[in-house]
């Protein structure tokens, strides 16, 4: 089933022309997490080239888009200069939008959400809060039980969050961007 519209959206948002990829595989050859992905980067490109809905959904539902670390080895070496990392960013947001999420995405999304929440109110990262919220979101109560106190002892953790003055702007930024999108989905 044709699904070209999605590919056009992808191109207009990221500038990635999927048809430029001639499947040399250099991205995959150099990808540090290719072996952990359901589909390595070049395979993702190929799936996109088919332009079918099935394959698009396959990608959104895969862990590939979540495991991509945006280390940009692929982009740095791609003979066609295809911006796969940017494309992965886009596919992640699409996966969230369409709510097609691979289990592996859970801890990663939870971390990102915790991270963003912690800066949303204070303007700066509150690491202790981040860890706490992350644990709450993922029920990984026991994780890093030793590290956190050690960090604290080494003066690497604040007990209280640092707050910036102009928190209005921060609120506005979040309201007009990420939360804006959330409401769209509802």
């Amino acid at each position: 089933m044709e699904h070209k519209g999605k590919i056009t959206d992808l191109q207009s948002h990221t500038g990635v022309e999927v048809m430029r990829c001639y499947q040399c595989g250099k991205c995959t050859a150099g990808c540090v997490l290719a072996t952990d992905m359901n589909f390595p980067p070049s395979y993702v490109m190929r799936l996109l080239q088919t332009g079918t809905k099935e394959n698009y959904i396959k990608i959104l539902g895969s862990n590939s888009i979540w495991l991509c670390l945006n280390c940009e080895n692929c982009l740095g070496r791609c003979p066609m200069e295809i911006d796969i990392p940017k494309m992965m960013d886009y596919l992640r947001t699409q996966a969230i939008k369409e709510n097609i999420l691979h289990p592996d995405s859970k801890p990663i999304i939870s971390f990102h959400r915790s991270f963003l929440d912690s800066i949303k109110y204070t303007g700066r990262l509150y690491e202790l809060g981040l860890i706490a919220e992350f644990k709450a979101r993922t029920f990984r109560v026991t994780q890093d039980l030793t590290i956190a106190p050690a960090m604290f002892l080494k003066g690497k953790l604040h007990l209280l969050p640092e707050k910036i003055k102009d928190r209005m702007t921060m609120k506005r930024i979040f309201a007009k961007t990420i939360e804006n999108v959330k409401t769209e989905n509802k």
Partner: protein, 279 residues
């Protein structure tokens, strides 16, 4: 030398020693750092993984604040922040994106500020001038680890060579050290997965440590808090997955230079590391 300064969140928390060492060497080299007023978090990986506009708006505010303050050049020690600011600056050359962001911010932004990393700042300061101030040469054989965010995407950052970069090695040589030619200078350490996927971080950081160790490095030199915390704080997890557990310390370029400048280890925050530093 006067220059604007954006520490970023990790330098006030988990990577305090980076901040301390930057400030310490700046003092000795009499570089005057002017911190950006009321700066906010750059959003890091979380923002651009979740929402493009957010990922541009947060750094845009930082730079807008700096402009408001009349700064023309800002040094950003954290490689992640450096990367986010540079990339945002590049993306906002696009008129429509720029319009959108400024209506979100409701702050004037003209993208005129020169964003540089610590290595660039020290290069600017001048190898000779640094050499002149060295009191105890940093006589160690080390592996300079650049990671991803300092050098990629090359098309935007235009900093050093995309593979096998040299600028950090040069600085180490300037302060009396020797650097090894190794293979993992720019391979990813696991970046933002430190908490969410510690297993992957252990695997990737493991490869890096092993190669450095095999080639006889006494220490890893870094310029990125994420790399540092992955390689240092996560050493327990790493040592579980690599063949030969390693106790190589992971120190910041600014700490290495600080030692050479005769600054006390305490002041450079060398006591804050998980893997004890005995250099």
């Amino acid at each position: 030398m006067k220059i604007g300064f954006y520490p970023g969140c990790s330098l006030t928390g988990s990577s305090r020693e980076y901040n301390e060492s930057v400030v310490a060497i700046a003092k000795v080299l009499d570089i005057e750092l002017t911190e950006i007023n009321d700066w906010n978090c750059c959003g890091a990986t979380a923002a651009h993984s979740m929402n493009e506009e957010l990922s541009m708006s947060l750094p845009a505010r930082i730079m807008a604040m700096a402009e408001k303050q009349g700064l023309t050049e800002v040094v950003v020690p954290c490689a992640a922040c450096y990367n986010r600011l540079k990339v945002t600056q590049h993306d906002l050359k696009d008129e429509t994106k720029r319009k959108r962001v400024s209506e979100i911010l409701q702050l004037p932004y003209d993208g005129s500020i020169e964003i540089i990393n610590v290595l660039q700042m020290l290069e600017k300061y001048g190898a000779e001038n640094i050499k002149a101030k060295v009191t105890q040469p940093f006589a160690h054989k080390v592996a300079c680890y650049y990671g991803c965010l300092l050098v990629r995407p090359h098309s935007i950052l235009q900093f050093d060579r995309v593979e096998d970069p040299q600028s950090m090695d040069e600085l180490i040589k300037v302060v009396g050290g020797t650097t090894i030619d190794w293979a993992f200078k720019t391979e990813c350490c696991g970046g933002g997965f430190s908490v969410s996927r510690t297993d992957l971080v252990a695997k990737l950081s493991g490869n890096i440590l092993e190669d450095a160790a095999d080639r006889g490095a006494e220490a890893l030199i870094v310029a990125c808090p994420m790399c540092q915390s992955n390689l240092d704080m996560r050493r327990g997890a790493i040592n579980k997955v690599i063949e030969r557990p390693s106790d190589i310390p992971v120190i910041y370029i600014t700490q290495a230079i600080g030692l050479a400048l005769g600054i006390d280890a305490e002041e450079l925050g060398l006591k804050r590391h998980f893997v004890t530093v005995e250099l």
